[in-house]
């Protein structure tokens, strides 16, 4: 309570309600608004500049053509397909694993056990590790297995899976925690085993929260480029990826590649691809928020 005491000492008594209209508080409020205006102003500028720059190249060619040496013939078809392959593989690897880990921690783990406490601390730490380090991890792992060409779908998906696993675990745990204990107690009282209770009562009740968290995590993976860059994903891909061992490129990597080219035409392509990526990400976020608002039960 020392803060409160020192705070009280610092307050000069004011008479009446005029305190809010003094120059100090008014300037303060203006500064607060200014900080939001600046942040959203930058967001608006970003969107307007990339839309304006990308418009000339935002045509059907972007979806149907392969990268080319001339910007007016190039498209992002392999990058679109590559992103779909990598994110689908990431989802298949991460979602069951993340939910299982969260169920263990939230429903079955004895919090006094040192192993479980270690896992908890560890998940929080992993969430703060820079994404590029996950790229180095996947690079070292693939080297250890003796893989020569590390730019393959399964390699990229491995790095992204490990990157978003802590995010999925944390979101799932929060969703499970929001399910009231009475549901579990009622199920147990009717003779269900703990596992049946989890599978038939707790998990179904938590599905909206889990879905929201998972979609947000996958949208983060979709926009991520650094770990894939470390795995050498920046190559000239002029074919459709067709399997887990296939070479690939993704939308963020393609944007990075085109940004580095000297010709202005490629910068327009990078902007057009950025618009596409932003639209997809916004749609994913909107779906996640919709699920949260529509299906989340208030207990």
């Amino acid at each position: 309570m020392t803060t409160l005491q020192s705070a009280i000492r610092g307050i000069r008594p004011l008479t009446g309600r005029g305190g809010e209209r003094r120059p100090g508080p008014v300037v303060f409020l203006v500064l607060l608004w200014l900080s939001l205006v600046v942040a959203f102003g930058v967001l608006a500028t970003l969107i307007v500049t990339i839309v304006l720059e990308g418009m000339p190249q935002f045509t059907t060619r972007l979806f149907t053509e392969y990268p080319a040496s001339s910007p007016d013939e190039a498209g992002a078809r392999p990058a679109i397909l590559g992103s779909i392959w990598v994110i689908a593989t990431t989802a298949v690897m991460t979602v069951p694993l993340g939910i299982a880990a969260a169920v263990h921690l939230e429903e079955f783990a004895d919090q006094r056990n040192w192993f479980n406490r270690l896992i908890e601390l560890n998940v929080q730490n992993l969430a703060a590790v820079p994404s590029i380090v996950y790229g180095l991890l996947a690079l070292a792992f693939l080297s250890m297995l003796g893989v020569r060409d590390k730019s393959i779908v399964i390699g990229g998906a491995l790095a992204l899976s490990l990157l978003i696993l802590p995010v999925v675990i944390i979101a799932t745990r929060e969703a499970l925690r929001a399910v009231p204990a009475e549901i579990r107690q009622a199920s147990l009282a009717l003779g269900a085993t703990p596992l049946q209770t989890t599978w038939r009562q707790t998990l179904p009740a938590a599905v909206p929260g889990i879905a929201t968290g998972t979609i947000l995590a996958l949208s983060r993976a979709l926009g991520e480029a650094a770990p894939l860059l470390v795995l050498g994903a920046l190559v000239f891909v002029s074919f459709d990826p067709n399997g887990l061992l296939s070479g690939y490129t993704t939308l963020p990597i393609q944007i990075f590649g085109w940004t580095g080219r000297p010709q202005a035409g490629f910068h327009e392509l990078a902007a057009a691809t950025s618009v596409l990526l932003l639209v997809v990400l916004l749609a994913m976020n909107a779906v996640a928020i919709l699920i949260r608002n529509r299906f989340q039960k208030r207990w």
């Binding site: 959203f40 500028t45 820079p130 994404s131 147990l188 580095g260």
Partner: protein
């Protein structure tokens, strides 16, 4: 509190049966091998996270040992010339560290005031309806991919704003442009965590302050802010660790010349920028060039771990429990 096994057979149930420390078989029902197996599987899934951490440590440490066998640690940490690909190679990491320091400091100079301002407005001033509009907007800001921020930093902030409009003496890249845009990227992180911290301050404190005649600004700055300090520190520190680890913005807009940065209008290569750029060149597994990537990665990992540890210590130091 919702753990099932912790309660089953734990003190909660056993207290009803003081005579029997463990429930008799008839009370426990039929044994279910499938159930036990499923629990082991769940436990293994949670264990993957530990394997990941051990994997990161091993993946960074093993090649780094190879690197430090050839380059003395002191040359690496205190050398001021970074030229790993030159014939006369030099591995002083200071140029990379100074560039990281510049981009981090510039981004925090943007993100801390903007993020805290937004958090105060949302938590102390905004109506519920306004908050419902502003929070999703902040989430959009957090959802923009970093490669798009990088493109914006290079094409608009550096080329148009700094060079064309302000006529500043700067080249195609600068740590200033990268840092400024990175700051905007970090705003939502700082805003949302410190808003949570300020919203958690009990209403009674604000009412007490108002009853003593304080206006809203005084209440915010002298009562709510100190009370939420531990959460605010956690938010800022998380911002620092995101700035240090951010890759794409600096790889695109900060440049790729590893020189000791003395002026923010200069270009520079950060630690993450080096890893991203060096990975583009195909380096043979086991070569010194390949090991260099991991040595820099190890330094980056140690710095983020250190930042996290400082954060935990500061949060404990300033925690106010209500």
């Amino acid at each position: 509190m919702t753990s099932i096994t912790a309660r089953k057979g734990g003190p909660g149930l056993a207290s009803g049966h003081p005579a029997s420390p463990s429930p008799s078989p008839s009370l426990r029902g039929r044994r279910r091998p499938g159930e036990a197996l499923a629990k082991v599987a769940l436990r293994l899934a949670a264990g993957i996270t530990i394997v990941t951490t051990l994997g990161i440590v091993a993946a960074l440490l093993v090649p780094s040992l190879g690197f430090f066998a050839e380059v003395p640690v002191s040359d690496f940490l205190f050398g001021d010339r970074w030229a790993p690909r030159f014939a006369e190679a030099s591995f002083g990491v200071l140029p990379l560290v100074t560039a990281t320091l510049w981009t981090t400091v510039i981004s925090l100079a943007v993100a801390v005031p903007l993020g805290l301002g937004a958090a105060i407005l949302l938590s102390e001033y905004a109506s519920a309806r306004l908050r419902k509009v502003l929070k999703p907007l902040l989430e959009i800001l957090a959802g923009v991919p970093t490669v798009v921020y990088g493109f914006f930093a290079l094409q608009f902030v550096q080329a148009t704003v700094l060079r064309e409009w302000l006529q500043l003496p700067t080249g195609a890249f600068s740590v200033l442009a990268a840092g400024l845009v990175m700051g905007v990227m970090i705003v939502p992180t700082i805003a949302s965590i410190s808003e949570d911290a300020m919203s958690a301050v009990p209403q009674a404190l604000r009412q007490g302050s108002a009853a003593l005649g304080a206006n809203r600004m005084q209440t915010t700055l002298r009562v709510v802010f100190p009370a939420a300090l531990s959460g605010i520190i956690a938010a800022v520190v998380l911002g620092v660790s995101r700035a240090v680890g951010e890759t794409m913005i600096v790889a695109i807009a900060a440049g790729n010349q590893a020189v000791v940065v003395t002026d923010p209008l200069q270009q520079g290569q950060t630690m993450t920028g080096f890893i991203a750029n060096a990975a583009l060149g195909d380096s043979r597994v086991g070569s010194l060039e390949y090991d260099t990537l991991f040595a820099v990665g190890l330094l980056l990992f140690c710095i983020t771990l250190l930042i996290n540890a400082i954060s935990i210590a500061l949060v404990r130091r300033f925690r106010e429990a209500y």
